[in-house]
Subunit: 288 residues, 4 copies
């Protein structure tokens, strides 16, 4: 039942992707629109597109790294110039909900409407339809894969049951490339504190976060896996965190056998392998 490692292009040993979720204000507004009344909190989230993204684009350019930015539709409409700058730098824009909606408990119809609204927003701003999706709060529903496939998505990046990408079986014999993520490779748990919204108050040093991400990189490289880091510009765009990320990119790129790529590139490669799709199996309530 385990997922076999996939072969990587040009004999690479593993893949690595530095991805960014540009949640900005959407992360809060999707949970409770009354956060819009909080000027300081809004400014905290606006740091992402206003200050974090430009800094991170510069950083990625210096390393020649192409990456994937997951952008809620509302964020794209609020910051069209930021999204266009990301595109102009050669990065991928992917789908991350309209208002970073918590997807738990959403019906298929509700989720479809959100997906379509986000698609429209991204297409109008970025000029092309995204092929990748990441569920807000990494909360995929069982009906989500088919909704994604029906809208022409190539891949999703919201599941966590293995270290390797695979073809996820979708009802009616279809498939969707799945590129797994994990909580330990996310900057939110390390850095995020927004009063009356998120976090216990703990804010970690970049030294600790980078140490942990580097150890996971080393171990995933040995496994031939796909190491997918998720950073949020409103968090990791802060100066010392960006600088620490700079060191991590340097470290990852210092390995000749690592394929640093966007998720679209990884998904296209996986699709080209013609893998047999596998299912993620829903627990049956009748068993409890």
């Amino acid at each position: 039942m385990t997922v076999a490692p996939v072969p990587w292009p040009n004999g690479a040993r593993c893949a690595a992707s530095f991805t960014f979720d540009v949640d900005a204000e959407s992360a809060l507004l999707g949970v409770d629109t009354s956060h819009a009344d909080r000027m300081s909190v809004i400014s905290h989230q606006a740091y992402g597109p206003l200050t974090g993204v430009p800094r991170l684009l510069k950083l990625l350019a210096e390393h020649g790294v192409t990456s994937t930015f997951f952008v809620p539709g509302y964020t794209a409409l609020r910051y069209p110039d930021v999204v266009r700058a990301i595109v102009d730098h050669g990065h991928e824009i992917a789908h991350h909900g309209y208002l970073h909606e918590p997807m738990r408990g959403k019906t298929e119809q509700e989720e479809a409407a959100i997906l379509d609204r986000g698609l429209d927003a991204l297409e109008s701003v970025a000029g092309s339809r995204p092929v990748g999706y990441r569920a807000p709060m990494w909360e995929l529903n069982w009906h989500s894969p088919k909704l994604l496939h029906d809208r022409g998505f190539l891949y999703d990046s919201s599941l966590m049951d293995t270290d390797h990408p695979y073809e996820l079986a979708v009802p009616d014999g279809e498939r969707l490339v799945e590129i797994p993520i994990q909580w330990a490779l996310d900057d939110w748990e390390q850095y995020c504190y927004v009063p009356e919204f998120s976090g216990s108050g703990l804010i970690e040093s970049p030294v600790k976060a980078i140490q942990m991400w580097k150890l996971e990189f080393d171990a995933m490289r040995a496994e031939g896996a796909s190491w997918v880091l998720t950073n949020h510009p409103f968090l990791s765009g802060r100066p010392s965190r960006a600088r620490a990320l700079d060191g991590l990119i340097e470290y990852v790129r210092s390995h000749d056998d690592v394929w640093v790529a966007s998720l679209r590139e990884i998904a296209s490669h996986v699709r080209s392998l013609g893998l047999a799709p596998r299912s993620v199996v829903r627990p049956d309530p009748a068993d409890f």
Copy 2:
């Protein structure tokens, strides 16, 4: 009233056991079956049996270490191949509830039914009845020891009042070997984050977790105690954590005077010593 250290076989100075709780989806479903609707969260828990267990089995085999895996009945039914692989590698399968039920407040009848359902599931999948038990969430009730004894269990591993195993007095003059555990030797507090289920969001580096477990090993070795580490494959099966655990196993095994064993082996040894049973005394509400 203190518990005297027990002598260990072949003049060993202390015992050490690397145990694994294969909670998988049960840990969430036992609390609230609506978690079954959450595809990403289910995949996060499925990482344990699908990816973590195979990696950890390989790791244990490389070190020649035999261990104990506590498996909820539902997990065994959902992943029979995984359980059989654990057995095939020579490890012990022990009882961990049916759906990792929170046992606080359960009546004797309710708990008996859960124990029996778990026993049936494990016996049908693993091919033999388990002799060891660990309460889900380490929450033993005062009626639990007799229920366990009546079902032929040799040992329990859910109490925390000492550093050494002992014979626990069970009503009607019976006994049950108790092998203590402790929160600081559990990976859950160090690594677990599942939104809307568990954790404040803190995720520690394996460097910190291993440092803490190693210090406790050193100190417990000096005390002649039984050092029992509890890891969850959905957490410690992740690459960098498994690698850190690899280093810890190497370290523990580098001591000639440490007996690395499964809990069944430890319990059998303790039973062979013919120790006088002791009681854990319930506080009397009339005293308050």
Copy 3:
């Protein structure tokens, strides 16, 4: 839309300010006046003015550093000698609410009354009107900037969308200097624990806090930014934290190209630059 770095006086590369929020008892009483009944908790907060401030004043004097102290009006009335000692040491007294009121959801009229009450208290104790404001809990409302401008404030320090100070556009063509802060440069998240009030229980070592603040200083210096540290005397006035802060001040001052200043000095400098004001844009609920 990004905020350009400002030029600093005398060719300095960046600015640094060690600011102190003298919340004392107000931080708790503003949330729930019943905390007044808790003698130990009140003494915990009183540590700030009674013990922390004198120690920190001595420390700042040794380094020849002039700084800004944000003082709730009630704290000033309760500890007038402490406020006068701060003034006598050449530091700036700035506004921090009357009773450190949580400002979320406060109407314009309610907030105006609090601002006026705090102004009266500070003026009566310190002998002059403050020109700087920091919202309690860094919670500015959208109506706050105009209220501040109308009362003659020169600057605010409660927003977080950039690393550089700027002129914030205020309705009716007015302006207010904004000097941004951030959660990672605050001692509250690192050190504060008050049962039944704040904190998960985590208390960090000064080694970790100072490491993080130093890394952010290094990175912000490279960016030409304004590094603004916020400490609370009831927290960072404790001996080992004050000593660690001592080392940090020494480190910051060891750079010849850093302008260490009070926020009033920084604000006056920014005002002198004649910058075009920019807006922080409120999300429009109609967009969601």
Copy 4:
């Protein structure tokens, strides 16, 4: 208004005291007696008197350190042999409530009854009346000092507004020696996790806790203060934590100019100085 340092005996530069709160089961039962139904949780708390105290008594004896143990009355009645062993080792037994009752909101009459019940319990078990008090959860009420003075207590150790002991003014011209404590010198925040009772799940390494306590010792020594560490045997009695504490005691004792003493010895010394009493001032609700 600040508290002046006191001179120490024999020209010592500062005082240091290793104190222990033997909360055991009382810490939970005082909050909710239904915790008595939880066998594992009770065993977790019982670790203190059963395993932690004997280990810590041995450790203190090796260093020749005399200390203070705060014992709830119920704990003394449940573990009389443990209390007598503490006395036999030459340590002080002090008052810590009857069932570690949360004191917030308790009336004078309720608190008086608890104090008397605890006094009776300690006197009957330890053979003498305690002269020291520490409020459960460090929660002193404004009426507590007089209640303590009326019962003949020499000192309290529950306030936090300074680094030095002092004479606390009690109504009617009386006094009580106060020996301050602080949250950063408590092992509970570093180590305690009890599901459905306390803690976010974070468990720190002894390396981190000891580092923090050592830094505070160094800084308080420089201030001529009284460094009072609070450990709980159910937490710091664990092997690696006791070993780390061993190193800390060694470190503290390696300074010739430090007076290591019990709180009773410190209080007696302070009383002998004939200091003018000072008040801790209650905030006046009319001011809000």
